[in-house]
Amino acid sequence: MTVEALTPDAIAPRRRRSIRLFGHKPNLTAWIGLIIIALNIAVAVLAPLIAPYPQADIVGDAWADPDRLHWLGLDNLGRDILSRLIYGARLSIGLSSLITGLAFVIGIVCGFTAATLGGWVDAVLSRIVDLLLSMPVLIFAFMILSVLGTDIPVLIGTIALLNATLVFRLARAVAMTIASLEYVEAAKVRGEGTWWVISREILPNAIPPLAAEFGLRFCFTFLLIAALSFLGLGIQPPLADWGSMVKDYRDMINLDSAAPLYPAAAIAILTIGVNFVVDWMLSIHSRGHGEPA
């Protein structure tokens, strides 16, 4: 099982293939989470088919109230909010999965290497991470994005790197604990190489805390993208993403409009869905460890 297998994209197809997931039957909340994730992915994939209007088209007056043709009303420029929500799912979910996945790959590889090899490798990696962490996240992102431009690949790389520092710290600490256990020692005494020790002995046992972190990071990434978008460095108009929609519409809450609540609700629901699944995975992992009856 690799970390990528935990991204929502990977979970949904497996669910359809069989009732069991990771060899266990999902419970009720896990099912709810899986259904939420699957619906979100379906909406993202099928966006052009189900969205009533293109995301950037102006179809009426700004802030028009909801009616039969525009279920959620129109936004500040007169674009259909529902359509933007549907297209926003593509960018938000796609970017978040990609960024979080990348952050976890970088963070786990570096963290485990630091923990297993120790010595100067650990010292160098840890100091680099300390350096990155010592700068406020937004200022660092601002710096990079204004130097390298606001392309989406740059955005992905920057946020992934920032998230990877946090994953690194967790992965290193978890791996240190596991590396001191006797089955890891037994593998070393057997003569196994570093790669075997990391991938077969440590990684499978480090999944529970890392999966929990994944659920959290995935959701924070929305908000970070939104924050960058607000500063004009994230998603560029006219593309829609949920985070920037919240920012764009937020003043309307004072004028009795529910407009900012729709994208916020979309973020919240997906967050809950992801965490339901993560919680369930944590529960099967803790059961697997054989707690005394």
Binding site: G191, P204, G290, A293
Partner: protein, 557 residues
Amino acid sequence: MTGSPAEAQETLLTVKDLRIEVRTDRGPGPVLVDDVSFTLRRGEVLGLIGESGAGKSTIGLSTLGYSRSGCVVSGGSMMMGGQDIRTMTGAQRRGLRGRGVAYIAQSAAASFNPSITIMDQVCEVAIRQGLMNKAEAEAAARALFRELELPNPDTFGSRYPHQVSGGQLQRAMAAMAMAARPDLLVFDEPTTALDVTTQVDVLASFRKLIREHRTAALYITHDLAVVAQIADRIMVLRRGKMVELGTARQILNEPREDYTKRLVAERAFGQTSTPAGRDAEKPLLSVNRVWASYSKFANVISDVSVELRRGDTVAVVGESGSGKSTLARVIVGLLPRSEGEISFGGQVLSPRLAGRSKDQLRRVQMIYQIPDVALNPRQTLLDVIGRPMKFYFNRSNEEVRARVLDLLRQIDLPESFITRYPSELSGGQKQRVSIARALAAEPDIIICDEITSALDQLVAEEILRLLKRLQDDLGIAYLFITHDLGTVKRIANKVVVMLKGRVVAAGETAEVFTPPHHPYTELLLSSVPEMRGEWLDEVLVRRGAIAAAAKASVATA
């Protein structure tokens, strides 16, 4: 032993038909304790004995009005002072704990708050229950420290838990439990984590304390010999049910039930003769004047020499901290030696793991103390046992599978276990799997690091028998690290006694264990509890002289 308490004495606790079961989300789960009844008079000590999972601790905790999360007292009554502990309100229970019943846990280190002085923790109960003010409580605590024979009783309390030894901390916990003068003490395996030599002192202190204060006690342990020293009556438990209840003397000398007979028989071992390794042969493993340390400043093992021949079982014994396990780590190469030489089959082994060939690594295997952490919880038994075959011999998947099934048969586990994960096995079964993993490498030597100390007596016995059988069949040599001299006498043909990183005695088992002993060997030997109730008194009398001699010998060593 005290004479059996007179009938007229008032009954302190009456437990009747106690039933404790697990409640899960899906309804009732397994029954942990079923239909257990006993009474306890003031000043009486009842020993609860049984294997792990027998329900001993569950019963002990229930007398505090406490059950572990998920467990429920679902039947019976526990009358104490005219009240049923089971139906008490939260406030009543708080009043009961500390003042009525107090608890002494197995791990004192985990039971003390490391950031608060011992004195403050010992006094807390009495002060919070409003029984004494701070000055009175501290005076009482100092008196308890003195009774428990703690060093410098007047200043002992000002120390923090990490500043005292394990045995002292265990006694400090007894002081904490006694602080509010409870009527009943619950001892939950209080000496299990201690060395044999420390155990004697702690047991003696506990017994003195109980007798002087005429406190009743429930003494929970898996070691019959320990409970023999302290209990007036013994209850044998198995799988939550009472097997037998009787006076200590009757249980130990005339057990009625089969299970009790087996328990007593395992403990009352005799010395069996083990065929000696053939001395004429060249040694397989030879550790020659080896020194090693974790830091530059203190040597953990100094000038240690050990030889192992084909078919030998060499036991390395000593207290914790004597360097036994470090010796194992040095031999396998986890800790590089700083001086000396280790050779194997005539070749000198590199001090470091990285400098050894795959074949050298294969021929020395190791089995660990705690089976729960020695097996990767994410690998099936096929992966666990099969990996050495793939790694060392590069066998195909079919060969590996066939050989793993073969090994499972050899260690008496069903073949269907091949797809199981370690968490689905019991402690003893896990330890068998560890053995199979070692065997899979087809080694010449297996280093066994305290492999039975985490297991119940009967299970440990089976593991030892298995090892013996494998040795007879395969001619493997064992380096057996242990602090249990009983085990040593039974299985080892040679013994190395270590103290503070040095070898103080070595030779044939019979020789080392026959007088005249080295004084430290004598101290170790005399500390192994015997089932006779008089043993503790005798050993305490002899103890002073032996300990002095042992100290003198260390000073001159």
